[in-house]
C-alpha cells in the first residue's frame, strides 16, 4: 500500500512548523513518528497535500522534573517514556502505559505528541492524562496555551488543537508514591486495548478509560463513589456509567461495559496492594 502523493517539508523549528501550517491550512498535517498518520495515509483514509515533518526537532524530546510536575516534550518517543527514570519515580503510570503500546518497533518511532494529537479513543496515553489531570501545551501563531486534559479530547479523532498549532509539551502532576494501576485487555499482545483503565488512587482518585466511547473518557461515577467512601466493588460497578462503548469485530458494547467493570475492580485492587 502506497500513500497518495504529497509535498514534503521539513521544519527546523516549532515556529517554522507553525508558519508552514498557517500557510497550507487544512491541506497540511504534521508528521512526527508517523505511527498513527502513515498507516492512515497508506490506507488512503488520510490524503494530506502537505506533510510538515517535525520529527527532527530533538529539543522537543525530554522528560524533566519541574517543581510539582513532570514535563514531557511532545516529540518524546514511547520508548523514552517507558525507560525514563524520572517517570519511574514520579509518574510510573505513564511509563507503564507507554510500555503497553504496540510493540518495540512502534515504540521506537511513535511519540506522545503524535499519539495525543491523533485523538484516538483506543489509545492508551489519553486515559493516563485524564486520570492524572494533566495539561497539554500547544504553540500557535499567537504563542503558547495550556489545555486541560479534560478539555483536550473533543470527539473521535478530534482534539482541541487548532490546525496551526503544534503540541509541544505535556505536564503531569507529580504522583510520587501515589498508588496507581494500568489495565489493558487485548486479544493479541500488540493490539489496541479492547478496554483499558488508567487509575491514580490519591485524595481525589482519577480513572481514565480507553476505548469506552467516541473519545477518551473519565469514569466520573467511579471517581465520585471513591471520593464518598465507596468500597472497591461498589465503585467498580459504576465503571461504564455514562460511557458509550463502541461495537466492532472485537467486542459488543455490553462486553466492553462488563470489561470496564472488571478492569476498574482489578485496577483498584492492584493499586491498593501497591
Amino acid at each position: 500500500m502506497i500513500p497518495a502523493p504529497f509535498e514534503y517539508v521539513r521544519a527546523s523549528s516549532v515556529d517554522e512548523a507553525v508558519a508552514l501550517l498557517g500557510e497550507h491550512g487544512d491541506d497540511a498535517k504534521l508528521l512526527a513518528g508517523g505511527h498513527s498518520l502513515l498507516p492512515l495515509m497508506k490506507l488512503r483514509l488520510a490524503t494530506p497535500a502537505v506533510l510538515v515533518d517535525i520529527g527532527r526537532l530533538r529539543d522537543l524530546s525530554y522528560v524533566e522534573e519541574r517543581h510539582d510536575h513532570v514535563a514531557v516534550g511532545g516529540l518524546t518517543r514511547h520508548r523514552d517514556l517507558e525507560s525514563s527514570p524520572v517517570l519511574a519515580q514520579h509518574v510510573p503510570l505513564l511509563a507503564a502505559a507507554a510500555h503497553s503500546i504496540g510493540d518495540p518497533q512502534v515504540r521506537h518511532r511513535g511519540t506522545i505528541g503524535g499519539s495525543l494529537a491523533h485523538g484516538d479513543p483506543a489509545s492508551d496515553v489519553p486515559a493516563v492524562l485524564l486520570a492524572t489531570r494533566a495539561t497539554v501545551v500547544a504553540r500557535g501563531p499567537d504563542g503558547e496555551r495550556a489545555i486541560a486534559a479534560d478539555d483536550f479530547f473533543e470527539g473521535f479523532l478530534e482534539t482541541a488543537l487548532r490546525p496551526d498549532e503544534v503540541l509541544t509539551e505535556v505536564r503531569i502532576p507529580k504522583l510520587t508514591g501515589v498508588p496507581w494501576s494500568f489495565q489493558k485487555f487485548t486479544r493479541r499482545a500488540q493490539d489496541w486495548a479492547i478496554v483499558g483503565v488508567a487509575l491514580v488512587r490519591n485524595g481525589s482518585s482519577g480513572v481514565g478509560l480507553v476505548n469506552m466511547g467516541s473519545r477518551p473518557l473519565r469514569a466520573v461515577a467511579v471517581e465520585d463513589a471513591l471520593a464518598s467512601g465507596a468500597s472497591v466493588g461498589e465503585a467498580a460497578a459504576l465503571a461504564a456509567e455514562g460511557a458509550d462503548p463502541p461495537a466492532d469485530l472485537h467486542a459488543a458494547p455490553e462486553y466492553r461495559a462488563h470489561l470496564a467493570r472488571v478492569l476498574v475492580r482489578r485496577a483498584l485492587e492492584e493499586a491498593t496492594a501497591r
Binding site: P39, K42, D103, Q105, H108, R109, Q190
Partner: protein, 163 residues
Amino acid sequence: MHVSVTVNGGRHDDEVEPRLLLVHYLREVRGLTATNIGCDTSSCGACTVLLDGESVKSCTVLAVQADGSTITTVEGLAPGAPEAAELHPVQQAFRENHGLQCGYCTPGMVMAAVSLLRENGAPTEAEVREGLDGNLCRCTGYHNIVKAVLAASRMPGATEVPA
C-alpha cells in the same frame, strides 16, 4: 527529494518521491530484497530493520524520514557482510536452534532480536517473548525462536552491528 543514507556500511545518495516507504527504498532502489513485506500494516514485523541501531517497521517509515540515518538490514548484519561467509551470532543461534521453518519472518525476527538484545543483554524467557511481540511467525515457530534468542544472549558479539 534527496536522501543520503548509510545502508549496511555503504553511503548512498538518491532522489526519491516523498511517499516512498523505507521498505520499498531498500528492496527496489537498493536491491536489498531480504527484508520482506508481510502485512504492510505495521503488524507483522517481517519488514523490521535497524534504523540508527533500533528496530523499526520499514513499511511504516518514509525513506525521507531516514535521511541522514544509518540502516542495517539482515544482509549487512554479519561481520564482513555481504562477502564474508560468517554468520552473526543471532543468525548462528537461529540456525543451531532451528528458529525458523519457512523463513519468511526470519529476517525481521533476527533484526528485532538484535535490537532487543541491544536494549537488554540478558533477557529472561518472558522478556524475549514480550520483546518479540511485534513479529509474527505463521509456522508457529515461536518456541525455537525464543530458544535461539536466549542462546544468542549468551554468545559474544550478539549485540554488535557492523558500522
